[in-house]
């Protein structure tokens, strides 16, 4: 069948325009029975003949047949395509009259047959004028690779006009060749040609070539392509090894505790089993003893002793053998796969680094405001997380009024800054100002504000998450290769973090305000006596720190959901960032955010299934880190730090 098919396809492709004596209807009539009631086996003959005919009507017929639109007219046994209420001639495609259900018999191909029809269609679709159909055919082959698809695919490459699709076809053909080519050399060449391709399907192909199955035998079989030997107790557990022996009928099965129990229960007679009273059988030892008496009497299969198990394991070899018999092919596949996996690992590392970088920039945005206020005023603002939330909700509200997402984000950023700046200044004036020199009480008072704000947001916006939609041009991701990709939103957040870093450094180092802020940070008393108004500086710093939190809120809201609790999710990490980085220093915060961002991604990579554990370990790491650098990475030294 395969040969026929290949020939047929070659025939139609190389000799188009040849005239045919037969009509499709004639051809179908010769297989009338199979067309009406096709079976998985019998349909092959029909399909072969149809394909061999090279008739242009074959493709629409096959599609109609597959879609269960073919009927036979009882009066003359002719086949038609039915669509709606109309019958169409199969050869000319013209309508021939209304379809009356009486006198028409449906051809009802089952699932297996329809799949076979679909396979036959793929060959035609590969060269279909419609690029969508060609693409779909290639996708179908890639989904379920099969030996029969290799030749039609290779034949269709030459005539492919679309360069991208041609490349895809060539790649797919290479994979099929690696799997199914007839000669060893062809396969090895194809396998080696796959090197440098990091995609998942190529790796799957190579893994298919390298698929192994475990085996056990008294001696290593000569003809097998052995992948590796397995040592019981090291490579596989002794229990598993013995189970394999049992499965291969090379050793008697073990008697499990529940089997012992069932055997004993089945042999209870007069309140005793084999002379053991039932009430004594409450321990494993006594149960085994009773069972052995039964076994001696031949009533139950004997127990397998430890020594017997060990002897059975010793007298057999356990191994993994490749399903592919040719060692040359498996060696080539192994070498290629190793090469690819090295590249994948490197790419994953790069991808992880990008992830870490984007997480670090989020933490930096979330923490920098906190770091500034903590550094200048020595107060921890527990409501900082709620300022982040306020910023995000500001963005949400702006989007309610401004439907253009680009514009709304451009409005939301300064507005969020303004709103949280105002909230920060108000909080400083009303609360924090009265609590200087009582840092722990500031912490608690701001905590009170935090729970009030959180509940207030819940009352206003409800408990469900609100979306903050990013503009279209931020959708999608920047893709470097099959492994390395980073979404544009994360890039935008990274850029935003960079801008704020530059802005804050500029404000602190190059402006009058920055000079005064630094003066107050280092020596408030001295600064006051130099004519700097510390009250004003404190208020402005607090507003600035809160305003940045608002902007961070918009940024975070773009990629995470906006909820009343979102601030709480970031506040502990922000504290950690500040503490690890060192207080009162922008670079310290940057270092802290980087450390925590990269660390969190690194731990998640080591233990991807369990993000809870990752967070636990990270916090433990931070607690230990504080042991060695109590003042953070960038520590202030000298008398200022000691006070």
């Amino acid at each position: 069948m395969l040969r026929l098919l290949l020939l047929a396809v070659a025939f139609c492709l190389t000799l188009p325009g040849i005239s045919h004596a037969q009509s499709l209807q004639d051809l179908l009539q010769t297989h009338s029975e199979e067309v009406l009631k096709p079976g998985r086996r019998s349909v092959g003959v029909v399909l072969d003949d149809l394909v061999a005919s090279g008739l242009p009507q074959v493709v629409p017929f096959l599609e109609a047949w597959r879609d269960r639109e073919v009927v036979q007219r009882g009066s003359d046994g002719l086949f038609f395509r039915v669509e709606g209420d109309t019958l169409y001639d199969l050869d000319s495609g013209e309508a021939v009259g209304p379809a009356e259900s009486a006198g028409l018999t449906d051809s009802r191909p089952n699932g297996g047959v329809r799949r076979a029809i679909g396979d036959a269609l793929v060959q035609f679709q590969l060269s279909d004028p419609d690029i969508m159909k060609r693409q779909a055919a290639v996708d179908a082959i890639a989904r379920s690779m099969d030996v029969s698809q290799l030749a039609p695919l290779e034949n269709s490459i030459e005539g492919e006009r679309d360069a991208a699709l041609k490349a895809t076809k060539e790649r797919l053909a290479r994979m099929l060749t690696a799997l199914f080519a007839e000669t060893v050399d062809d396969r090895i060449a194809a396998i080696e040609g796959l090197a440098g391709d990091l995609s998942v399907d190529v790796r799957a192909v190579l893994n298919t070539v390298l698929s192994t199955s475990t085996g056990v035998a008294p001696a290593l079989p000569e003809d097998a392509n052995i992948a590796r030997l397995l040592e019981p107790g090291q490579d596989l557990s002794e229990a598993d090894a013995y189970a394999q022996l049992v499965a291969a009928d090379l050793a008697p099965p073990l008697v499990s505790a529940s089997q012992i129990r069932e055997a004993l229960v089945a042999n209870i007679a007069d309140g005793a089993v084999a002379g053991f009273p039932v009430h004594q059988l409450g321990s494993d030892d006594s149960r085994r003893a009773a069972y052995q008496v039964l076994a001696k009497a031949g009533q139950v299969p004997p127990l397998v002793t430890q020594a017997e198990q060990a002897a059975a394991l010793d007298s057999h070899v356990f191994f993994e053998a490749y399903d592919e018999p040719s060692a040359a092919i498996t060696d080539a596949a192994r070498a290629t796969l190793d090469k690819i996996e090295t590249q994948v690992a490197l790419s994953q590392f790069a991808d992880l680094a990008l992830d870490g970088l984007s997480l670090a920039s989020i933490y930096f945005l979330a923490a920098i405001g906190l770091a500034i206020t903590f550094g200048v005023m020595g107060v921890i603002n527990m409501a900082h997380g709620e300022f982040i939330m306020m910023g995000a909700y500001t963005g949400f509200v702006v989007q309610l009024f401004v439907p253009d997402y680009t514009l709304s984000i451009l409005i939301a950023l300064p507005l969020a800054f303004a709103v949280t700046f105002g909230a920060g200044v108000a909080m400083e004036r009303l609360v924090i100002r009265h609590l200087y020199h009582r840092p722990l009480e500031t912490l608690l008072a701001t905590f009170g504000i935090s729970i009030a704000l959180q509940q207030l947001a819940k009352n206003i916006f409800g408990t469900q998450a609100r979306p903050l939609t990013s503009p279209d041009w931020l959708d999608g991701a920047l893709v470097f290769n099959d492994v390395i990709a980073i979404s544009y939103i994360r890039i935008a957040i990274f850029v935003m973090a960079l801008i704020f870093l530059a802005l804050i450094v500029y404000v602190l180092k190059r402006t009058r305000l920055g000079l005064e802020v630094r003066a107050v940070t280092q020596n408030p008393g001295m600064a006051a006596s130099m004519g700097i108004n510390p009250d004003r500086i404190n208020m402005l710093t607090f507003g600035l720190g809160s305003g940045i939190a608002g902007i961070a809120g918009v940024a975070i809201g773009l990629y995470a959901k906006v909820t009343s609790e979102m601030g709480a999710d970031y506040i502990v990490q922000s504290f950690m960032t500040v503490v690890v980085g060192g207080v009162g220093n922008v670079w310290g915060t940057l270092a802290g955010a980087s450390l925590i961002g990269f660390l969190q991604k690194g731990i998640e990579w080591l233990n991807p299934s369990n993000t809870l554990a990752a967070q636990t370990y990270m916090i433990l790491f931070i607690i230990l880190f504080i042991q060695f650098r109590p003042k953070g990475i960038v520590a202030l030294k000298g008398r200022a730090a000691a006070d």
């Binding site: 030294k637 000298g638 000691a642």
Partner: protein
Amino acid sequence: MSTLLEVSGVSVSFDGFRAINNLSIQFAEAELRAIIGPNGAGKTTFMDIVTGKTKPDEGRVTWGERNVSLLGMSESQIANEGIGRKFQKPTVFEDQTVRQNLAMALKNPRGPFAVLTHKKTKRNAERIEATADQIGLLDSLMRVAGNLSHGQKQWLEIGMLLAQEPRLLLVDEPAAGMTSEEREKTTDILREAAQTRAVVVVEHDMEFVRRLDCKVTVLHEGSVLAEGSLDHVTANQRVIDVYLGRGHA
């Protein structure tokens, strides 16, 4: 007279600023010494090093007959070795009574469990009263320390130091903010204490130093500039330069 404390070749710097520069200084068993010097001369840092608050970058600090090094010790260990320190600002426990302040300072076992099971004894009460008498606060034993006058707080702190029964007393600007009568009394207390132990006074006020009438060490830029009687050091040209016109030294 044998040496009680020897500081030799000590240097320490903060962010590149050398607060103490190859400083060497010695104190005898029972003496009264005044350390003077302009702002930033390293007086407070010197006390920080001796009491263990700051670790020097290099140099040695040895203590007592057995020449123990103080450098590896924590603040509390050094205090228990017999070095007491009074801060520049009066730091007494303002929420507690004078008696409680003195009781805490009294030389007794310092471990948490010893303190937890501590019982009030007659001997301790007598010691507290004796110290209170020495600093003139016998009538104020039950008063809360926060309600004392500035001078009384200074005396209470000196009293707490005395109750510790240290062998070396480091006193930072005891006379700051005092009236002249209070100063006189402070001088008396310190001179009396120096009969049995070493007392080192860091002071700005020349008049007060003159009244102490003791050996004087002048610090400048983290090292010893001059040493001797007050008249001797004030006659020193370099000292005059340092005090009057900076930049000549």
